[in-house]
């Protein structure tokens, strides 16, 4: 069985989503959008340091999954992890503080933007070596299976990641052990600057490989938060029922460059524009109107989001850098770094 939802068709099959859920899906998308735009501005001001990988245009995936997750579920993210971290409810100031490498950062500046982690929110780390976290997510799912817990591990990664060895090992392993893990491939059409089709033997890098692991091929419109939410729900239900892993390919597009100041010049003309028409935030705003939400309700969400981002920005600008003494803490579990006596 294939579950394929053509762009546009989703609204019809998702008529029964609860109103609070809809508002929630919108709120998370808007907050991520506002946050990412601000992060970009701050990067241009040299206040966001190191690197930074935005999810502008991919917000529906983070929102759809996060809303479908319950407390205790575990997220495993990549360097492109701001969105998923925020979507799980992690404090915006802490995330921005980490990007700005301040002492109020989520990891006090020790990890940096590529490694956002908030164990309290089930965000079990962001991983910057392509593919590494797919097996790790299997391990967290194994723990749940072993203890009889019903939490699910969710692992987000990009299209380019489907070509690395760890992807293959993890998928087979999860399938053989029937682990409660959901693999979400955010296919944004590019592996950094290279179109995914130029380096991949199949058209749908994740979905066309599902059968290699005995899994069904699932393609979802990644710019439609409802569609993502529904697909995630179904996969979670399957996982919690002990029926093993799922692999979901979300078709999407990133509006900005791969990282930092990448101007994205490798894109064919008109491609971005075409996708901007299907901007997930815009799509979802229209959806809300269509479903009878008032302009006032919608605007309130947007206003609150902007206020949150502004407040976080101010707090971070005022925050000090991390103190020198945390440099060598938490290398080992005793809190220190001593490798000798």
């Amino acid at each position: 069985m294939n579950v394929r939802q053509k762009p546009g068709a989703a609204a019809r099959v998702n008529d029964d989503i609860a109103s609070e859920t809809r508002l929630d899906l919108y709120r998370r998308q808007v907050e991520i959008r506002d946050f990412e735009k601000r992060a970009y501005d701050l990067f241009l001001q040299n206040l966001v340091k190191g690197t930074s990988h935005l999810s502008l245009g991919q917000e529906a995936i983070a929102a759809g999954f996060a809303v479908a997750m319950k407390e205790g579920d575990k997220s495993f993210c990549t360097y492109r992890g701001h969105a998923h971290t925020l979507a799980r409810g992690v404090d915006m100031e802490a995330v921005l503080g980490e990007l700005m490498q301040r002492d109020n950062g989520l990891m006090r500046g020790k990890g940096g933007s590529m490694h956002l982690t908030s164990v309290d929110h089930g965000v079990m780390g962001s991983y910057a070596i392509i593919g590494a976290h797919l097996p790790i997510a299997c391990g967290a799912a194994w723990r749940a299976q072993y203890l009889g817990d019903d939490d699910v591990s969710v692992c987000f990664f990009g299209d380019g990641t489907t070509n690395i060895g760890a992807f293959h090992e993890a998928l087979n392993f999860a399938a053989v052990w029937k682990l409660p893990v959901v693999f979400c491939c955010e296919n944004n059409l590019y592996m950094e600057y290279t179109p995914i089709g130029e380096v991949t033997a199949v058209e749908n890098p994740a979905a066309d490989r599902a059968s290699a692991y005995g899994l069904e091929s699932i393609i979802v419109d990644g710019n439609d938060a409802d569609a993502v939410y529904r697909a995630a729900e179904a996969a979670f239900a399957k996982a919690r029922a002990g029926e093993g892993p799922s692999l979901i390919e979300c078709k999407t597009y990133r509006h900005s460059g791969h990282s930092r100041a990448d101007p994205g010049k490798y894109r064919p003309e008109g491609e971005l524009e075409k996708w901007l028409e299907r901007d997930p935030v815009k799509v979802y705003r229209a959806r809300l109107s269509e479903f009878g939400f008032s302009e006032k309700e919608i605007a309130a969400i947007e206003r609150e989001s902007k206020a949150k981002v502004d407040a976080a920005t101010e707090a971070c600008k005022g925050a000090p850098p991390p103190p020198d003494e945390i440099l060598a803490t938490d290398v080992y579990a005793d809190g220190g770094w001593a490798w000798r006596n």
């Binding site: 164990v119 299997c138 723990r143 090992e169 579990a333 490798w339 006596n341």
Partner: protein, 325 residues
């Protein structure tokens, strides 16, 4: 008290920990039903069942990744990588994931797991199945690294490793699996980061690890008998944490240091310890620090060639004698 082989000690050590703590689980290739290719895990599957002792596909990255994910969420996995040479196919976990997650998350994540692996030469397996690669782990900040030389140390250090809250790479020596030693009854728990003076002596300090420990001891006996040189032999046991105190005190006493390494020469643990001593004990030293190592070459398969490359008791004794002359 019972006499056990090093191989049997591995199984007993794992069993002790599986029995003690429900969170301990064990996975690897052919480790369960088949009892391991070195027969070092025989009986565990039968005793603890398929939930706790699990066979995996040939997917070393999945093995270590799964161990890490389980460890960070509450289990205490022991993962087997059959031959230590294969650490190279899953090295990202060893070098970039296990040892950095706690630090990068500012202490939020933990990684309490043990990677057991068959290390070392002597089986005529050739260059891709015989390496001593303790330095591959020692050079990575955030790991702990252990290599026992006797059955009792296998059990005690394995227990310490499993109970340790940090990731530990545990090197078992393939050529020691068949060797025997006395092992007390009951629970055995040792301490990481402790070297052991296995032979007291006053003229020179010889450091050794794993298979090189019995060889260093034999060399010390030769040196005493044939040349009247009384060497102290220290089994380093734990490379990280490193028991520099025991080493530096010994050098303070003897004034000479020799390291005996099975790994190829460059950037081995001997280089690290030699550098520490050459810096911190400079004024204690009566002569150069000498490293006795396998030459810096891939390992040959043929028995006669393999026997020449590893440090032998004769070569160790001769090198020490020459340096002390």
């Amino acid at each position: 008290m019972a006499e056990l082989t090093y191989r049997e000690a591995v199984a007993r050590g794992i069993a002790q920990e599986l029995e003690r703590d429900e969170r301990v689980v064990f996975l690897g290739e052919d480790v369960a039903k088949a009892g391991g290719v070195f027969k070092a895990t025989v009986g565990l599957y039968e005793q603890f069942g398929p939930k706790r002792v699990r066979d995996t596909p040939i997917s070393e990255q999945a093995i270590l990744g799964a161990a890490m994910g389980a460890a960070m969420t509450g289990l205490r996995p022991i993962a087997e990588i059959m031959f230590s040479d294969f650490l190279a196919v899953c090295f990202d976990y060893i070098a970039n994931e296990f040892p950095k997650s706690r630090y990068m998350s500012n202490g939020q994540l933990q990684c309490p797991l043990v990677v057991r692996t068959g290390n070392g030469a002597g089986s005529r397996f050739g260059a891709q199945h015989s390496q001593s690669v303790e330095n591959w782990a020692m050079m990575i900040p955030g790991l702990k690294v252990v290599a026992p030389s006797s059955p009792v140390d296998v059990i005690g250090l394995l227990a310490a490793a499993v109970r340790d809250p940090d990731p530990v790479v545990f090197f078992e020596h393939k050529s020691l699996y068949g060797t025997k030693g006395e092992v007390p009854d009951g629970e055995i728990v040792d301490r990481l980061g402790t070297a052991k003076v296995v032979r007291a002596g006053s003229n020179a300090t010889i450091l050794a690890l794993a298979l090189m420990v019995p060889r260093a001891l034999e060399a010390a006996e030769k040196l005493k008998a044939e040349h009247g040189i009384d060497a102290e032999v220290i089994d380093v046991r734990s490379l990280v944490p490193l028991d520099t105190q025991t080493i530096l005190s010994s050098v303070a006493k003897t004034g000479r240091l020799f390291t005996v390494e099975e790994n190829p020469r460059l950037c081995g643990w001997g280089a690290e310890i030699a550098s520490i001593v050459a810096d911190e004990a400079f004024y204690d030293l009566d002569g150069p620090v000498v490293r006795i190592t396998t030459p810096h070459i891939p390992l040959p398969a043929a028995d006669n060639l393999e026997d020449i490359v590893l440090p032998t008791p004769e070569r160790i004794a001769e090198r020490v004698r020459r340096a002390m002359a």
